[in-house]
């Protein structure tokens, strides 16, 4: 069993999702709920076990059909990918919990789609082959297209068409990049590519560079990097709350792919092509931070504000990518986990607030009081402090680690003001929004129902991450440091990834 553990986080949601479409489970919503929750818990368990296994036994290579790499399809579970698989499985479970309160009634096939989306994201994290990265991207995208318009309505359709058209163009670019890279390197296995890239001739090197930069554009589109981020605000703000929470990990898939491709393939050992994206990614990262911050100040409601905070977190993560060092990657990983959990929580809190404020929704206008001001207020306060990076919560630790990772004066001059300024703007935007939502109100009583237990359980589970990531800060930073080391020191793990290879 343990030898097949690597593929379980992909297989379990796939089988679960398909079974949910078939009669015994598909007939009632009740059965769908419990079956989906069971599958999500099992996926989470397998992800936890996989993390444990890759921690104790080193990188796990799973070769499908026993076609040894670089020829067959390989799954690679190292520290980085197992951490993100665990995060995705947790987020999937929480989003299902939240939906159990009633969001699942507003459209068909909610549970199968969420499970298939989790499968796609887990697959994208686990694959060791860049073409399968494309395939899993498509799996997660097609599930996300359907999830985005879950619930229906004009706004969702409108945002949905933009999102789908942009991502289809992105997929075409991805394939162009893969064609170029296969034409020059002759392989699509990531570990194998990393050994071949240093041996290219002058002419091939130009082509490989074009391919690598095209990949950056594609991953930048998924991650919402600056000139490609315009789709994000409207898409995330119009999606229903559990879907938006699940989407919080989607931008991180783009960031992960940049880490993987541009550190392993075009990293230190790439000869002339080493760190070729660095001149591009520095200005883009800083401008993304700036654009996200301005967007946050200009947002008319909490959902759009949160969507802009997702862009800010992407900008911060891109700064960690741009530094291209082990310490920066380690800090980035910590920040990635924290920002995913908190942004997901904020989307759910925005939904709860908008339910309880009647017509005004989550817009920043004077309106009736929310039904449960104490509960929602505390939740909002904790999430806002964590996302802005105020101690004692996880955002503070993540940002401090990132600031410490800046090693020379040039990096400090650019990274420190950008990160600190964006934190300040986040605080301003959130405190302005929060005071309007909770304190500036009319005398009307709220007629809405109080939040259900499912809702509170989901939000509390996500928010628990903020203090827990500080309490367990020691082990977590040790883990992310080890994961970053594994990512950066490619040659040391090559004998595991390419058994019997010529290198």
């Amino acid at each position: 069993m343990s030898e097949h553990l690597t593929i379980l986080p992909i297989l379990l949601p796939l089988i679960g999702g398909v079974l949910l479409l078939l009669p015994p489970l598909a007939t009632t919503l009740e059965r769908q709920r419990y079956a989906a929750l069971t599958v999500a818990v099992l996926t989470l368990l397998s992800a936890g076990l996989l993390l444990q296994q890759s921690q104790t036994e080193g990188i796990q290579l799973y070769v499908l059909g026993d076609w040894q790499p670089p020829y067959g399809i390989a799954l690679v579970a190292d520290r980085l990918s197992t951490l993100l698989v665990l995060l995705t499985s947790l987020l999937g479970l929480v989003s299902l919990l939240y939906a159990c309160a009633g969001d699942d009634r507003t459209g068909a096939y909610f549970y199968p789609l969420v499970l298939l989306q989790v499968m796609g994201i887990n697959g994208a994290f686990l694959t060791g082959d860049i073409f399968n990265l494309f395939v899993f991207f498509e799996v997660l995208l097609i599930a996300s297209y359907a999830l985005l318009i879950h619930g229906g309505g004009k706004q969702k359709t409108q945002a949905g068409f933009h999102y789908v058209a942009l991502n289809l163009v992105g997929s075409s670019l991805f394939l162009f990049a893969l064609g170029i890279l296969y034409g020059t390197l002759g392989t699509l296995n990531i570990a194998d590519m990393s050994t071949k890239v240093a041996t290219l001739t002058e002419g091939e090197r130009v082509l490989a560079k074009a391919g690598g930069l095209l990949l950056l554009a594609v991953f930048g589109l998924k991650a919402a990097m600056l000139p490609l981020h315009f789709w994000l605000t409207r898409t995330y703000a119009s999606a229903s709350a559990p879907v938006a929470a699940l989407f919080a990990i989607m931008t991180k898939v783009g960031i992960y792919s940049i880490y993987r491709v541009h550190t392993v393939i075009f990293g230190e050992n790439a000869g002339e092509l080493a760190f070729m994206i660095q001149p591009w990614i520095w200005p883009l990262a800083l401008l993304t931070l700036l654009a996200g911050s301005i967007g946050a100040l200009a947002s008319p409601n909490l959902r759009e504000l949160t969507a802009n905070l997702v862009i800010v977190s992407v900008g911060t993560l891109l700064v960690s990518v741009a530094m291209m060092s082990e310490a920066a990657t380690a800090a980035g990983l910590y920040y990635l986990v924290h920002s995913t959990l908190v942004c997901a929580a904020l989307f759910m809190i925005a939904d709860l607030i908008s339910h309880q404020r009647g017509k005004a929704g989550d817009r920043f206008v004077i309106s009736r009081k929310v039904r449960q001001p104490a509960l929602l207020g505390v939740m909002f306060f904790v999430a806002a402090m964590a996302v802005a990076g105020i101690p004692p919560f996880s955002g503070f630790v993540g940002k401090v680690l990132l600031l410490q990772a800046a090693q020379n004066a040039t990096e400090m001059v650019w990274a420190w003001p950008a990160i600190l300024l964006s934190s300040l703007i986040t605080i301003i935007a959130l405190s302005r929004g929060g005071t309007t939502l909770f304190w500036r109100r009319s005398t009307d009583k709220s007629q809405a129902d109080p939040a259900s237990g499912w809702h509170i359980a989901a939000v509390v589970l996500l928010l628990l991450g903020a203090p827990l990531m500080v309490v367990l800060g020691g082990p977590i930073t040790e883990y992310t440091a080890a994961a970053a080391q594994q990512l950066h020191q490619v040659p040391e793990s090559l004998h595991l990834l390419l058994p019997g290879g010529e290198s």
């Binding site: 297209y145 409108q158 068409f161 394939l175 893969l178 064609g179 170029i180």
Partner: protein, 121 residues
């Protein structure tokens, strides 16, 4: 052969990009389809163009790289599914929003003041 092939891919990509930038959903869908055709041809050529080569060893004197063919097959299947989805979405957008503009609303039309005057007179 290479020049014609490259020109075809280039022309398809050009048309695809041009149509993707149009304002109505139908040309955009067509543009996406053309782009996916271009990309399929491009992927096929990444294993080098070769005449009379079999993709299976031992069946002919020269052989060709089978991997790009497998990749193209995967890309075609995925592209087909995505096109089907985007067609349905575009039709739903037409029904939900009342027009077929990609932004969901028509850009302001230029007014024709002279004709109105005539009607009043």
């Amino acid at each position: 052969m290479e020049a014609v092939y490259a020109a075809c891919v280039g022309l398809l990509t050009f048309s695809g990009v041009f149509l993707c930038l149009r304002g109505r959903t139908f040309p955009v869908v067509l543009g996406l389809t053309l782009l996916s055709y271009a990309v399929n041809l491009f992927l096929f050529s990444s294993g080098r163009l070769k005449l009379d080569g079999a993709a299976i060893l031992g069946t002919s004197a020269s052989y060709t790289d089978p991997l790009p063919q497998a990749l193209v097959l995967t890309a075609i299947v995925i592209g087909f599914a995505m096109t089907a989805f985007v067609v349905i979405l575009a039709m739903r957008a037409r029904a939900d929003l009342g027009n077929d503009h990609v932004d969901g609303r028509l850009p302001p039309q230029p007014e024709v003041p002279q004709r109105r005057k005539k009607e009043h007179a």
